[in-house]
Symmetry: C2
DNA sequence: CCTACCGATCGGTAGG
DNA sequence: CCTACCGATCGGTAGG
């Protein structure tokens, strides 16, 4: 908390003129991150061909992760340390977000574009690959958002496609 | 450290009769985990067909993650807090491990079994999907190591295969 | 928003 | 391996 105070040019305790507790601050950050993921998925029209819909979800997800690498790291690592009722709120957003992905894959399967053994496992597989990006991505390298989204979309299309 | 001491029926400070520092203990755990991943990859023959080779890498990786969910979590989250020279040792093992995956995918591409735009990105994609498993897997559910390995291998085969 | 402080806990140690 | 302790740091607060 002292480091955070220093980062905004305040004395140690002065942060508490603005917030009630460390946990409130953590929740604010985590909740905001979860919200951005959800908003990016809600912006994707559901009547697109499944391939295009998935490509937009992929790009939205990676955009949030790459734009907020620091927040994403805190989000992924620290949400488990919230009290159980704050955790539940975050879980609600996360579940709503995952549902967008599950429905996109399900719809693709119904349309005959995709074919998967288990929609839940396929959804977890795809989201796992995307989430982990925060661990290895270095901004400013030659692999930008465009290039990464395109390659990941391709790999995911192939993994899910009906043959 | 007091919690750890209690867990092995010692008083707070008595742990230090066995270890030198908290960091040494963390390194021990992280290094061991990295070693187990590497050992599981080294056990896979390199002269198998690429598909089979990859399936064994997948199963080995998931076996380590599922068998040591707790250690895997600490490994993935906490290795960044080691001093830079201990970090470097862990990075060495991790790089050697990733090289096994990269070579397996490269060889598959050379044999014509696989076709990928960028081997590095494809390797990161696959390892990302596998690593994240520690976040959602619940032991004792209906999805056991066998079933998960099979489904993940299938998704990965499809993502990488030449068409 | 600062000064000055609180009790609790941290990693670790001396001496037995 | 325990007892008893160290200085540093933690999240947070009272009073201005």
């Amino acid at each position: 908390m002292r480091d955070l105070a220093k980062a905004v040019n305040l004395q140690g305790g002065s942060l508490y003129a603005h917030i009630d507790s460390k946990e409130e601050l953590l929740f604010e950050l985590v909740n905001r991150a979860a919200d951005e993921f959800l908003a990016s998925a809600e912006a994707v029209p559901v009547d697109l061909p499944a391939r295009e819909r998935l490509a937009r979800l992929v790009r939205g997800h990676l955009e949030v992760v790459l734009r907020e690498l620091g927040s994403a790291t805190v989000f992924f690592h620290e949400w488990k340390f919230l009290s159980s009722d704050l955790q539940a709120k975050v879980k609600g957003l996360r579940d709503a977000y995952e549902a967008h992905w599950r429905r996109a894959i399900e719809d693709g399967a119904k349309r005959g574009e995709f074919q998967v053994e288990d929609v839940r496992v396929a959804t977890l597989f795809v989201l796992s690959a995307l989430n982990w990006t925060y661990q290895w991505y270095h901004p400013g390298g030659k692999l930008n958002l465009e290039a990464l989204s395109k390659q990941y979309s391709n790999l995911i299309w192939k993994a899910l496609e009906a043959r």
